[in-house]
């Protein structure tokens, strides 16, 4: 297929009908419409039938973020469609879609990545409808407009419905360039269009991966090695086999050759023993009867305490360093005051409502997989590699999932299901117990920040140093280009300590872990220097960070990074000014209560939060009464969904502040279920106010940006209320007695 940028190509599609395929760069295909065809494929994102029913093809994964409704809304708006006539159809993994169009659903990037493609798809089909009508009326397209699924003749007021025009439109050449709507002309974008999954959800008819059911399907559960990277040595399944309904038991071990082909992180699978049974319950019960001897490997002797010691030891053997200015010089000036503190943000679990699962049917030459996944393409690739099949022989059907938050980037359950289906020659559903989900989570990484500030006698902070010790090889505020607050001398170090549990993306990833130390430290410095936390941030952001001589900058920094940073810095300032202007921060708190502020960005979205707390005698020693979030994210496609994402992210992060931080003993995660892994419930939910700063700039993500500011805002509020600096989460009441 030939393609070039900004060019829409028309070519054949098997099965008849017209198809325009739009991507970045755009391209398109079409084939003569055959008499008798009812449904016309206008492009990869949309079909229209002769009755006027429109089907929007959904390429992104719906996991609670609302994308499954909001992306089709954008399409309908550009098309000029009647939303009530738009049905939504989930697409299986299909390589026709580019990475931006399908690819991963995550990084709060779905709308941002698909924004251009989906609008062009809608606008191209709309222009073809207009042309078809104009030809029929013998007028110029200048005098027709598309609205509410009709093309209207502005002179004669005649109307033709899209369904009446679909066949004629399919025979037209595809326009090379289309004009996109202006924000002021949007009909659905910017309004709270109702979530399309709601009617099914409330009737109990919404199907998730775990509800998959296919004829002759059997059920599997797996007893996995409780220690990360451990192995099965031997097992005794006598008792388990005695259970009625157990069909088969075998180990799940992959050869080193196969393992080498799989992705080391998202294609990682725990070793274990599989039970196949005639029901989920029997499979669960039988796994408890297995007697397995494990080789626990190197992680079997590690624990939270040993990890902490390793991290502390790594502080002085750092592997990465950058320097802006001369930190050493201000540090050595004896007139200056030195502030040294340590922040700790530990591993947090996902605890998704829908436990991990997948269904697979291997038929020798091909395999079908049904799963809720954030990356259907990678699922297809990993399953194909496991089975040694060409990728086109693996079909991945994407089902909605009961929350993902980064966990469903991992293909473990799909690989397991495919492995088992091949072994037993039957379709099989693998369901993880809640205990499996908790103990074999891909946890948020662990980060410790050792922070130093140098303060002059006249209360100026002239140097900041961050030693970031992390269980992954990245951490925000530890790279030169990560800095927005313009201290005159900045030095950063980073060291990587090997993890003792599986790790993965967790709602806002490094922004959550790094913002804790950064935003609390800025608050500490504001108090040290007698400044208001908002004014102080505005002052620090007032200047660009001194990156050094631009002639030493890599090209990507000049072309991409610095222009983007400029936008983000401006958004930080606009958000802070908004808070100052609207007096959101100037609230007097009575004795025993306090307020705290923090601001963070995830991608190009900025979210500032003001937390109000009351010190009390509860398990954590405090309660959060209210959180006010001010968000700068460009245009808000669906305000109801947007507010919901920020509310949800605040509650998500509050669970980490109150109950996060798993412990590990002898390599085994010491949390198993919601009894010992508490999460925030309705009675602990604060009042939440979400303010979006009005903007008609292109929309930026909203799934994760509400997370990172919450923990530091709450800890800063606790300081305001109690006078005590808490420098780690989760916060326990005992800390107030000892601090």
């Amino acid at each position: 297929m030939t393609s070039r940028r900004n060019f829409i190509k028309v070519s054949g599609l098997a099965g008849g009908g017209l198809a325009i395929s739009l991507a970045v760069p755009k391209y398109a295909r079409t084939m003569a419409f055959k008499p008798g065809d009812r449904e016309i494929t206008m492009n990869n994102f949309l079909t229209i039938d002769t009755g006027g029913n429109i089907t929007a093809i959904l390429t992104k994964h719906e996991m609670g973020q609302g994308t499954g409704t909001s992306v089709p809304t954008i399409l309908a708006d550009e098309l000029g469609a009647d939303w009530s006539k738009v049905k939504i159809k989930r697409s299986d993994y299909n390589p026709v879609y580019s990475w931006r169009e399908m690819g991963t659903t995550g990084g709060s990037g779905s709308i941002e990545r698909i924004w251009n493609a989906i609008r062009n798809a809608g606008a191209t089909a709309r222009e073809m409808m207009k042309q078809a009508a104009a030809q029929q009326w013998g007028v110029d397209t200048m005098v027709v407009k598309a609205e509410n699924s009709f093309v209207i003749n502005l002179i004669t007021k005649e109307r033709l419905e899209f369904g009446q025009l679909a066949e004629a439109a399919s025979k037209l050449p595809v326009p090379e360039k289309v004009v996109l709507k202006k924000p002021k002309d949007y009909v659905y974008i910017g309004t709270s269009v109702k979530n399309r999954i709601t009617p099914e959800v409330v009737a109990g008819k919404a199907n998730y991966g775990i509800d998959m059911d296919i004829p002759s399907m059997v059920y599997a559960a797996i007893k996995r090695c409780p220690v990360f990277n451990g192995k099965v040595v031997t097992y005794d399944d006598t008792e388990a086999r005695g259970l009625k309904g157990v069909l088969d038991i075998f180990p799940l071990t992959l050869s080193e050759d196969v393992k080498k082909t799989l992705h080391p992180k998202i294609g990682y699978v725990d070793e274990g023993v599989v039970v196949v049974a005639d029901s989920t319950w029997t499979a669960f019960k039988a796994t408890k009867l297995l007697k397995i001897t494990w080789d626990q490997g190197a992680n079997g002797s590690r624990s939270t305490t040993s990890l902490e010691n390793e991290m502390k030891a790594a502080k002085d053997a750092v592997s990465f360093k950058f320097e802006m200015g001369d930190f050493e010089q201000v540090l050595n000036d004896r007139n200056n005051e030195i502030l040294e503190v340590e922040y700790n943000n530990p591993h947090h679990p996902h605890a998704l409502m829908e436990p991990i699962n997948a269904t697979a049917h291997f038929t020798g030459e091909a395999c079908e997989v049904w799963v809720g996944t954030q990356d259907a393409a990678q699922t297809n690739a990993e399953v194909a590699k496991l089975l040694g099949l060409p990728r086109e022989n693996v079909t991945v059907h994407v089902l909605n999932s009961g929350g993902s938050f980064g966990r469903r980037y991992h293909m473990d359950s799909s690989i397991e299901a495919a492995f088992i289906s091949r072994k037993i020659n039957k379709p099989v559903k693998v369901t993880w117990t809640r205990e499996d989900e908790m103990m074999h989570d891909h946890f948020q990484h662990c980060l410790r920040n050792y922070l130093t500030a140098v303060i002059t006698p006249d209360k100026r902070v002239v140097g900041v140093q961050n030693k970031a010790i992390c269980t992954v090889d990245y951490a925000i505020w530890s790279e030169k280009w990560d800095h927005y607050y313009a201290f005159p001398n900045i030095r950063g170090y980073r060291a990587h300590v090997p993890t003792l549990v599986q790790q993965g993306a967790w709602r806002s990833v490094g922004e959550h872990s790094g913002s804790l130390g950064k935003e609390c430290f800025i608050d500490e410095l504001a108090h040290k220097t007698g400044k208001d936390p908002i004014d102080y941030r505005i002052e620090l952001l007032g200047n660009e960070v001194d990156w050094g001589d631009p002639k030493d900058f890599p090209n990507w920094v000049i072309n991409y990074f610095l222009p983007r940073k400029k936008i983000i810095r401006q958004r930080y300032l606009d958000t802070l000014e908004y808070i100052r202007m609207h007096n959101l921060w100037k609230k007097e708190m009575p004795y025993g209560r306090g307020k705290g502020f923090a601001i963070a960005n995830f991608g190009d979205t900025i979210c500032a939060q003001i937390a109000e707390v009351t010190m009390d005698d509860s398990e954590c020693g405090f309660s959060v009464d209210k959180v006010t979030a001010v968000v700068y994210c460009g245009m808000v496609v669906n305000p109801h969904f947007g507010r919901g994402q920020i509310e949800g992210a605040i509650i998500w992060a509050l669970s980490a502040v109150k109950y996060g931080g798993i412990t590990v003993e002898n390599g085994v995660v010491q949390r198993t279920n919601f009894d010992n892994n508490k999460v925030v419930r309705m009675d602990e939910t604060p009042e939440i106010e979400v303010i979006f700063i009005e903007s008609d700039e292109e929309p930026c993500g909203l799934g994760e940006p509400g997370t990172p500011a919450l923990a530091p805002a709450v800890l800063n509020a606790i300081f305001d209320a109690s006078g005590k600096r808490i420098r780690e989460i989760p916060v326990r009441k005992e800390i107030f007695q000892s601090a």
Binding site: E62, M63, G64, G66, S192, K194, N195, I197, T198, P199, E200, V201, V202, A203, G204, K205, A206, Y208, I210, D211, D213, Y219, K244, G245, S279, T280, W281, T282, F284, K285, A351, L352, M353, E354, P355, N400, S401, G402, G403, T431, T433, R434, H640, G644, Q645, E647, G648, I650, I651, W652, N673, F674, D675, V679, V680, R681, M682, D683, T685, I688
Partner: protein
């Protein structure tokens, strides 16, 4: 193993399962009523809530052998076509994000309003704190319960 007869959503089913099988797994795997969700298996999250003789129970913790001539209602049977006051309020407020926990939330809320048609804030928190939502839709769930209560009173 045993033979059991169970009335779910006014229909009687007869089947054979292990006597310790929780009601949840009978509903899901045997009767194919997938609206009732598995969340924790230990009565901690509320995703599996059903009504037994009108009262809310965690179906993951009720072995099939302990159910005697009782009438069970699941989310699928709460109303015809999702028209129960609580379901309608959920739609007006547009509560769900991922939606996975919502059958349990709705069943708990419906039972609450049966017992206390005009609940206070404290009544709502007390009844609903057994149901976890990891998307964090609590603000909206509360709003929908208040709306349903308002609709009941008018």
């Amino acid at each position: 193993m045993g033979k059991y007869s169970l009335t779910v959503n006014k229909k009687t089913h007869t089947f054979e399962v292990a006597s310790d099988t929780p009601l949840l797994w009978v509903l899901r795997d045997t009767l194919k009523l997938y609206g009732t969700k598995y969340g924790c298996g230990i009565g901690q999250c509320g995703a599996c809530t059903v009504h037994i003789d009108g009262l809310p129970y965690r179906s993951c913790c009720i072995p099939i052998e302990s159910i005697k001539d009782q009438s069970i209602v699941t989310i699928e049977g709460l109303s015809e076509n999702g028209t129960h006051t609580v379901q309608l309020a959920w739609q007006v407020v547009d509560v769900p994000q991922c939606g996975y926990c919502q059958s349990g939330q709705i069943m708990t809320a419906a039972a609450l309003l049966d017992r206390i048609p005009q609940p206070t804030e404290a009544d709502i928190n007390r009844a609903m704190k057994g149901n976890i939502c990891r998307c964090g839709t609590y603000v909206r769930i509360k709003e929908a319960i208040k709306l349903a209560a308002k609709n009941i009173s008018s």
